[in-house]
Symmetry: C2
């Protein structure tokens, strides 16, 4: 019932006519034609945000890594694999973007070289894998001239708020949505989440709720913050 | 129609009373609580083999990595994540196993150490990842006293048959099912496959067909070969 009330109260014109880009899911960094490095991101939070932004009247572009979720109705979805692909898709038409929400769990590093053929298992007991830092997508977006209102995520297992505040300053972001993935009741594959919204002014903790409800709440917060910044 | 004929001709008593263990899907090797190394195996071939073995009257234990497939009817499924988990599940009750089919795409290497907390991205442009060789599950099974009739898979991108024959001898296997994953029309996520069955006597190429049809054909070949070996 509370969910229904929330939905009923939700202002469907909040993001009317705004272009919102949302990244979601993991990236996959190829080691060779069959192997990759990835992470446990389900994409559920990003997809819920895309739905909520569409509900709020936004024109949504969802830039998604490999996940097992259907494309939300009335949004443009671009499927990608690697962080480099995601960066390219994110910067395309970025001058038209009003709000950029970086919810994807982008791999920090990728293999230096991708083997053309499947690597053969040798006799070596130990193998060294050389990784190189991936482009920082949300920082690249925030470094654009006339940057969109830019929101990052921080998935941490400890010192959640202090890490989030460091990230906010360092990457020139407008907002960070921080969550503690060490909690077993929430996190990557869960349908529920509890987050802390960190801005330059302070931190607001949102209670545990479904990712769907949380997405509506976050879109309200983001819309209000973006409007305040504009005017 | 051909599929129906194949199904109709399929001998439902071929593996009557036989215990068949089948590994399927990828393994995931944790780097930290959120990141892992994995591969593109969908598990479709192993699950199709499990269904075909059940159809042939076998008591099937399906030892599966993370895949998006429902458990086939009338088989016991054990879900695992890492190669070490898969080895443990495979060797449990191995003395009761008549036929072991190793269709899983097991990660050759795993990280030497798993970080307890999510690793922080440092300032380093380059990172070294230290990997250690995983246990060889199919070779461990084939090294057991009174080993089951043991079938390995070889997913290669080149020199498919010669690599398969090397593997057959080296690991003391009875049969290798080799496929060329560089072909774009078949392979990891496809519903079709074309394989070459390599035994100590020679190689037999099976034509491109659905994984379901191919699984029935492979179960016929495996049942005949295992019976020939028994008597």
């Amino acid at each position: 019932e509370i969910a229904e009330q929330t939905a009923a109260l939700f202002d469907r014109g909040l993001l009317s006519g705004k272009q919102v880009f949302i990244t979601a899911g993991p990236t996959r960094e190829a080691l060779d034609p069959v192997r990759y490095i990835s992470n446990h991101s389900s994409g559920k939070m990003g997809y819920a945000l895309a739905e909520a932004a569409v509900d709020a009247g936004a024109l949504v572009t969802l830039i998604s890594g490999p996940v097992n979720l259907p494309a939300p109705p009335r949004c443009k979805r671009i499927m990608i694999q690697s962080a480099e692909d995601m960066l390219e898709a994110s910067l395309q038409n970025i001058d038209q973007c009003d709000i950029f929400i970086a919810s994807a769990a982008v791999a920090d590093y990728r293999p230096v070289s991708v083997a053309e053929h499947k690597m053969k298992k040798g006799n070596e007991e130990i193998m060294e894998l050389h990784l190189i830092k991936n482009p920082d997508i949300v920082a690249s977006v925030a470094a654009q001239q006339n940057k969109p209102y830019t929101i990052g995520f921080a998935a941490e297992t400890r010192d959640v708020i202090s890490y989030a505040q460091g990230k906010l300053e360092r990457k020139n972001l407008d907002l960070i949505i921080a969550n503690d993935v060490s909690r077993s009741d929430i996190g990557f594959n869960s349908d529920d989440n509890a987050v802390t919204v960190v801005s330059h002014e302070g931190a607001t903790q949102l209670p545990l709720s479904s990712k769907r409800q949380l997405a509506h709440k976050l879109i309200e917060i983001i819309a209000a913050a973006e409007q305040k910044k504009d005017h």
